[in-house]
């Protein structure tokens, strides 16, 4: 077995945890606010488009022949244009890392440790992230495998415990939401799940050999991730109602709070918090991995570890104030982020694929023979 390769099982779990990512706590509120009791339909829509995107990403990744997204840009578009696009992507990764780290700080200081300064929280979390990035993708994949087990275990218990609290009438009347509302809810949900999945392109072509099993890993992972979110959204609607859910910043967290079994199992928000920290860990780690590896590849460093600590310091600094306040974050997440993610997650890859197609059809035959695997 190759020491540097990730098994397909591991990759499935990375995809799943990565898709769940930030969404499990805060996103249900936004989606329910827009689509009300039909939010689950939006979630289904998002899953459908998510699967589509996962398939496209897989096909897109096959064009890379073992390069990362950044290297592919450089290779395809040349030094200046390629590096330009690459820098846009790196900037995106930077925004991703900092905003997610801000989320960690915001949630922790508001719900778990109210007296601790945000700097301490962000710092400790980032240390774990930096450590796993420095240890490499294989380590990340292995920890994802174990974290996924823990995640699934807690998640199943949690979902079962919440069942006594649900009120089926909360979901009625069905199909009341307008098409734009559904569309927007799905779009926003998608922007937190599959639209940013392209960060996998920074390591998947190198470490996971292409093939049917990889495609399956993409699809199954997407399905699991979206399924988990769908259940959380449905449970939020059923247990908290459409009136309460949008008011809560962290509906998922409150969901855990209403659990009460026999007056003994109460106040187990810790479970939900753990779930969120786990999926966040994978997502931030991947973002940060993309950031440092991308940076190192743009400036052509031999080892990306060199820049992990300085870049980590910058990320930590910006994570303290990237959103001035919660309202700014809410507005950003609704209005700007989906479009921003769409540009990098769909538009750019599409453009790159078209350029690739044009260049490849005009390439001389000799070069094609040299690298026959490029024609997929």
């Amino acid at each position: 077995m190759n020491k540097n390769s990730i098994t397909h099982q591991q990759f499935t779990k990375i995809v799943a945890l990565d898709i769940i990512g930030v969404s499990i706590l805060s996103v249900p509120s936004i989606v329910i606010d827009i689509a009300k009791q039909d939010a689950w339909i939006a979630a289904l829509l998002a899953s459908f488009f998510g699967l589509l995107l996962a398939g496209l990403l897989y096909l897109f990744g096959r064009l890379f022949t073992g390069q990362t997204l950044i290297q592919f840009c450089q290779h395809l578009l040349g030094k200046y244009l390629g590096n330009g696009i690459a820098l846009l992507y790196i900037f995106f990764f930077f925004i991703g890392s900092t905003t997610l780290l801000w989320d960690i700080g915001q949630f922790t200081t508001s719900s778990v440790l109210t007296d601790t300064p945000r700097l301490v929280i962000n710092f400790t979390y980032l240390i774990i992230v930096i450590a796993s990035v420095r240890l490499g993708v294989v380590t990340i994949a292995r920890s994802a495998e174990i974290l996924f087990l823990v995640f699934l275990g807690i998640y199943v218990v949690f979902s079962i415990l919440i069942l006594p609290q649900i009120h089926l009438e909360n979901i009625q009347p069905v199909l009341e939401a307008t098409t734009p509302a559904l569309g927007q809810a799905a779009f926003i949900l998608l922007s937190f799940t599959s639209l940013t999945l392209f960060r996998l392109l920074m390591f998947y072509p190198q470490h996971v050999p292409p093939g049917r099993a990889t495609a399956r890993a993409f699809l199954v992972g997407t399905l699991i991730g979206n399924g988990v979110l769908l259940v959380i959204i449905v449970l939020s609607i059923l247990a908290l109602g459409t009136q309460l859910s949008p008011l809560l910043a962290y509906a998922g967290h409150t969901l855990a709070r209403v659990i009460s079994v026999g007056q003994f199992i109460e106040r187990i928000e810790g479970t939900m918090t753990t779930l969120w920290y786990i999926s966040m860990l994978i997502r931030i780690t991947l973002y940060f991995h993309c950031l440092v590896v991308g940076f190192a590849q743009v400036v052509r460093l031999s080892d990306f570890r060199v820049v992990t600590l300085p870049l980590g310091m910058i990320v930590l600094l910006f994570s303290l104030f990237i959103y001035p306040d919660f309202d700014y974050a809410a507005k950003w997440n609704r209005e700007v982020w989906p479009l921003y993610a769409f540009t990098h997650g769909v538009l750019f890859p599409l453009l790159l694929a078209i350029v690739y197609w044009f260049r490849n059809s005009s390439l001389p035959a000799a070069e094609q023979k040299e690298s026959p695997s490029q024609t997929s």
Partner: protein, 79 residues
Amino acid sequence: MMIFGIMVVAALIVAYDLPDIRKKGTRKELAFFTGLLAIACVLSAIYFLGLQLANPLDWIAFIYQPLFDHLLRDKAGFK
């Protein structure tokens, strides 16, 4: 106080990584390491001295906000 903290963190980072970089890396790695670290320190110092740092989200919003306002909200009916 925080300035002192930044110096301590920077010193720790240098102590942790510099020996390895000097042993294995080239001049380029060293340059990027020290350069980025210096930028990080300066930015942190600016922030902790109470000065305002530009928020990159505002730049992105500058491009995308009109897009959302005109395209998605007005035309497509998003909220």
